[in-house]
Symmetry: C2
Subunit: 368 residues, 2 copies
């Protein structure tokens, strides 16, 4: 299989599985237990916390382990006291948009993006200048569909002056570009293990010391009372190992991905009517989001599947629906072209041969 | 090591690890993806859902996978609309008591237990007869510390007549005694994988068709919108396998545990000043909760740890604190005796030799 859907999920790195196995087979203690078997496991969680912290340049004490990116995103919004406003960009992941809209504690405003998918500073400024300015803004670091990287440093310094907190969903960015919690200047940041060659079932919310959260899962007091529930030890250990590897190999991976992406895009451009979305702005090195005039994206995905090639017709979570990508809609792409969109997201173990094969197959399908 | 703390967590069954490995190593697709690699994984989740459903005699469509028992318990309470009352027994797990008390949507009442740790029907009746009777009652099927099994069938039929919903936390009961969702007559039931020789990071809430929940994790729409977030596939598959084995081997396990417990208790009774809590009422076949006059439970736990024996001085989650067991306090046990308490919880792979060794070691420690 040619797997080109790494923004949906990644295969677990073999070295990560190896790191996890002892915690599935031998060290099964409950980390809250006081005896030795508990303490061994507690210490493994501490190590993982250091590894994840190192990847994003944050103090280990500011890492809260969660069951994944969705929980981290949902939890982040609970930093806003009742009655205050939340503002989120229109291209956020559903795990930000839905809780922002649905929760009855806070009003929610949305922030537009321009035709390249970049958050509009004008819109942000207007929102902040209003009398009911938000208490928290949430803007993702890199978009899951387009791969567009936002100017979070710029947004953060702008908001800091107004004493507005900033959350960034860094689930797609981490492991693909350098991410420093402190240099970005954000107050909260979401991470996910299974997007960086770690196991599913683990994620983290990184929080600044000043942030006060209302916990979501309560009773038990784990994660210093920020997130109760017996820790998913093996998955946390795997997340830690994946973070360690991502940090060590970041430069190597980025170079490799960029070389593959360039090759891929050269091939794609030979297809008539094909457009690369957000091509003019800074994007993740692994992500290419394309539209092809007159093609149905869903159908194309199925045809590629028959050739044993996995790509996505939008974010995996939204795949079950046949709606046009909300990210493209927000960028003002016309509905017909948006419905033709497919996302190619490369991974560290993809090869030139796979890219060549993909380009060949895609060309032949589109020709028909 | 002699591991006698199975109510805190259990070692994963080797057969469960085997079942999980393909989903850590080979089948890594995102279950929401439409292509083959996604569908394979989706189907594995469906199988696990059937296995868990079979264990508790419920339709698969009524199983919601969660990140564990804590999330299942927290989620269960969200079946109560704003403004209505919740009533929980005083011996519930913190993951029921805390959200019941802390949530600002609902008032909370508590239900007393008698000196044996059985929920008081008098207290329940009084509560229900009051003008502001609760909309939901939560009473655990078997207690994590004492092992006491409640008359949930009796409570359910009493509450059904009053149209009050009943949730039962069956985390400790399942896999140790037969549990039928339909025969119990409850509306909601919580389960946990790592208490039945499955992996950590998975649990489930079983809900009746009539129940309407306000989801906790949102955005993504997984678990038919009851619980968003990429599924923890390997852990869910492991939970399913563990459930299958628990159902197949239930009788065998129960017999074995009961034989061990009887042997254990015969030995314990030779220790002067030792009391077995709730001895007169129906308890889980694996759990023995004891107090020893003049002994400090925490200290005893440490001394046993030095002899490579793992037991608990209360629920694992509360272990970090040095407070007397709230379960014993609720039963009216005096504070001094309560602080001497240790919980011995046996598992399917424990042996007679281990029980003999434990009895010998305990006797010699207490003598000093």
């Amino acid at each position: 299989m040619i797997y080109f859907d790494h923004n949906a999920t990644t295969p677990i790195d073999e070295r990560v599985v190896e790191a996890m196995l002892p915690y599935l087979k031998t060290f099964y203690g409950n980390p809250s237990s006081l005896y030795r078997a508990g303490r061994i496991v507690r210490s493994a969680i501490d190590t993982a916390r250091e590894q994840v912290a190192a990847l994003v340049d944050a103090p280990p004490s500011q890492i809260i382990f969660t069951s994944g990116g969705t929980e981290a995103n949902n939890l982040a919004l609970r930093a806003v006291p009742t009655g205050l406003k939340i503002a989120v960009s229109v291209i956020e992941h559903p795990s930000i948009i839905e809780p922002a809209i649905k929760n009855r504690k806070n009003e929610c405003a949305s922030i537009a993006v321009d035709e390249n998918g970049l958050v509009s500073f004008d819109a942000l400024e207007k929102l902040v200048q209003a009398s009911d300015s938000p208490a928290l803004v949430s803007i993702m670091l890199a978009n899951n569909e387009s791969g567009v990287i936002q100017d979070i440093v710029g947004v953060a310094s702008f908001l800091k002056a107004k004493q507005i907190k900033l959350h960034t969903d860094a689930v797609q960015a981490v492991g693909k570009i350098p991410v420093s919690f402190s240099q970005l200047g954000v107050d909260l940041m979401s991470l996910s293990s299974h997007k960086i060659y770690g196991p599913k079932g683990s994620g983290a919310l990184v929080i600044d010391k000043e942030v006060v959260l209302e916990p979501m899962l309560v009773g038990g007091g784990q994660e210093r009372d920020w997130r109760s529930g017996t820790e998913n030890v093996a998955s946390i250990v795997g997340f830690g190992k994946a973070a360690e590897l991502a940090l060590q190999e970041l430069e190597l991976r980025t170079e490799h991905l960029l070389a593959l992406r360039n090759k891929l895009e050269r091939g794609l451009k030979e297809i008539p009517g094909l457009l690369i979305f957000s091509e003019q702005v800074e994007r993740l090195p692994n992500t290419v989001f394309i539209g092809i005039q007159g093609v149905d994206g869903e159908m194309l995905l199925m045809q590629l599947d028959q050739k044993n090639i996995a790509v996505s017709s939008g974010s995996a979570c939204a795949s079950a629906g046949a709606k046009a990508s909300p990210v493209l809609t927000a960028m003002g792409v016309d509905r017909q072209l948006a419905k033709s969109a497919i996302r190619i997201s490369l991974g560290k173990d993809n090869t030139e041969e796979e890219v060549n094969e993909f380009n060949k197959v895609l060309k032949s399908i589109v020709k028909r």
